[in-house]
Structure formats: structure tokens, C-alpha cells
Symmetry: C2
Subunit: 174 residues, 2 copies
DNA sequence: GGACGGCTACTCGGATATCGCTTGTCCGAGTAAATGCGG
DNA sequence: CCGCATTTACTCGGACAAGCGATATCCGAGTAGCCGTCC
């Protein structure tokens, strides 16, 4: 029950891309430098986002990624499922049918497994929260909590500061 | 974002143990045969349940496992966390502080990351559903959907049928 | 001076290695029942 | 026949491997800007 690290990376990148919406495409290298992440692996996450239609990629020398939809139309769930996949956390393998009950009539199993039903209900609650929060909500929350963040990011990116790439160690989880 | 298979196994075993509450301890081998599971690996899951205080183990020749609490006091969340661990699905690594913002004053980050807040909220919703459903609820649901299941299990276990262990292939996910 | 063709540098995109964690297995410590023996 | 010590078989408990997915990296295809040349 661990979400891939790429989910966090993708969400933060989407937030930055929303802040820089009108500034043209942003390349992976700048996003990686800004967040202190490895460009190679971040590239993979952004590819997944592009394949899901959340961001659009433009090739070429001034290329990069930009949001494909306005932030109000990007749910957090969209980003999570783009990286992690749309599968349920819990998979029912119908073990209630694997023991001596194999001989039982098939009609006894028309209704779903009650255990799986509870787990699916929990998964639905999880997705409901993520589906109800959009990128616009996060933007609003950040502007409430740390108002200067958006402006600072815009300044950093538009001024093209590439100095001092602060890399963080890979694979070591604090 | 995948729950270990052991979660499903543990929940089904708890259900059976609840049905056989007054019949004394049930050994791993019988639980494995009944569900068509590998005894060695199931033993590991039951150990985790015992360590969490959900089931109590009795050693010896007629030993096995039995529920340590009445089913009304065993939430589904207890079983899930006993197997999967109590950790959040999402881990905030504070990447907002890793880029050029490293130089920013610490006071700018007193409030939690808005992205992490949404993810934590989703995790809380997930746990809330699992915490609100107890083993007794599942028993009630099964008796509604498949009334004969409990009685059939009781008969199978008390009659001591060990014949024909139906094993299911490991690692192959249908 | 303006337009065009070629070049270059930078970007995304996917194919390719590596590591940790879940999965899977095994054997030893411990215990309670069963058994044989003595009273 | 009853009580007790020994044996025995069965249980849990934890230590020990294997496989797969997440993590991490690299290089090739493609494109847009730039530069030199020609008209």
C-alpha cells in the first residue's frame, strides 16, 4: 500500500505548470532543477502524464510540457491514476471458492464477496476525495497558506535560472 | 498502490475463526486447506495477526489460532494494518523545499504542504470506512447473502476433513 | 537587404539495467496429548 | 485400576531464498531555432 514517488513529483510539477500556464512549455530539466529531482526519472513521470492527456508535450529546442486543460478540469485523481494506474488497491481472488466449496453450486456465489465489498467501498471513498479536489483547489490552498510561492516560482522560471542544481539523494528515504 | 495478498487471506481466516469461535483453536494447516492456500505463507500472515493481538495462538499438538476479541471489537482496519502496516499510502518528502526554495526562511513552511494535505485526507477517508466496519458486520452480510456458508464451514472443520487439499497456483494472478 | 537551405543544439520518447519489497519456503523450539510402566 | 515419567507428534515462530515491480538511467528520433550562403 505505497503510492509511487512519482505521484508526488507529478502533482508538484502540475502545480508549477499551472502557475506558469501562459509562459509557454517548460522542459523537464528545469522542473527537475526547481524541485531538486533527477531529470531522467522525472521525465518518465511526465511522459505518463502526457499519455493520460493531462499535460501536452512539445518537442524541439524550446519545447517542454504544459497543462493540456485548465486547472479546474484536472482532478487530483486524474494525476494519481495517470502515474499509479487505475486499478483498485484490493484485488478479490475469490478464495471463498477455492477450498471445499469448489463443489458448491455456482448459484451460491452470485452475490459479491462481502469482504471484497467492504474493501471496494473503502477504495471508492479514497477515490471520491481525490476526484473532488482539483488542481485549482490546490492552487487556492497554496495561495492561502504561502502566498508568495506562485510569484516566486514564476520569477525563477521566467528569469531562466539554471545555476546550482540542488540534487537530492536517490532511493534514500528520510 | 497494491495491498498485499495476505490482507485478503487474513480477513477470510478471521471470518472463519469467528464462525468457529467456540470450537477451540484452529491450526494453520486446516485454514490453508479450507481456503486452498499455501500453509507456509499463510502461517506468516497469522503470525502478524497474532502479534497485533487480533488472534491468539496456542502451541502444542491441538493448538492453532483463535480470535482474541469478539467480532464486534475487530475492525477491518485492524486486520489490514496488522498485515500491511499502519503507514500512510502517500509520503510527503517536502520536495517544495528542495529546489531554490532551500534558501527561503523556515517560517514559510510552517503550514503543511497543500498537496500532501489532500492525499492525507483521502487516506483518512479510506481508513474511516475500514474502521467503521467490524468483523461482525461482515458476518451479518454473509449470513444475508449466503446463509449456509457459516454452517457449512463449521461442519467441515468439526468433522476434521483433511482430504483432497485443493492447492491454487502461486503468484499467478488470473 | 531579404529569403532559403543546411546545421546544430536541445527536447521528448522509449528501451534498458538495478534494487527493494512482497512473496514463498524451510527448519527449530516448545508444548500438550498419548503411551507405557510402576505402584 | 490409578498416577506418573517418557516419548512423540504436532504446533507456532522466526530465519532464510526468489521473483517481480518500482526506481533509475541512458541513448536515439525529431524538431525548432540559428547561421551561412545565395539572389
Amino acid at each position: 500500500m505505497n503510492l509511487p514517488v512519482g505521484v508526488e513529483w507529478a502533482l508538484h510539477c502540475c502545480l508549477v505548470l499551472a502557475w506558469l500556464d501562459d509562459a509557454g512549455p517548460v522542459p523537464t530539466s528545469q522542473l527537475a532543477t526547481y524541485h531538486g529531482l533527477r531529470p531522467s526519472y522525472l521525465n518518465k513521470q511526465l511522459q505518463a502524464l502526457a499519455q493520460a492527456g493531462i499535460v501536452s508535450s512539445v518537442a524541439g529546442v524550446k519545447g517542454g510540457f504544459q497543462l493540456a486543460r485548465p486547472p479546474q478540469q484536472i482532478a487530483v485523481l486524474d494525476v494519481v491514476e495517470a502515474i499509479d494506474g487505475p486499478q483498485e488497491p484490493f484485488h478479490c481472488t475469490e478464495i471463498r471458492r477455492c477450498g471445499p466449496n469448489t463443489a458448491a453450486p455456482l448459484s451460491a456465489f452470485t452475490l459479491p464477496c462481502s469482504i471484497a465489498a467492504v474493501m471496494y467501498e473503502a477504495g471508492a471513498a479514497w477515490r471520491a476525495v481525490l476526484a473532488g479536489r482539483t488542481l485549482a483547489d490546490i492552487i487556492a490552498a497554496v495561495s492561502r497558506n504561502a502566498d508568495g510561492a506562485a510569484a516566486a516560482a514564476r520569477t525563477w522560471f521566467t528569469d531562466g535560472q539554471h545555476r546550482g542544481a540542488i540534487t537530492r539523494p536517490g532511493r534514500t528515504r528520510s
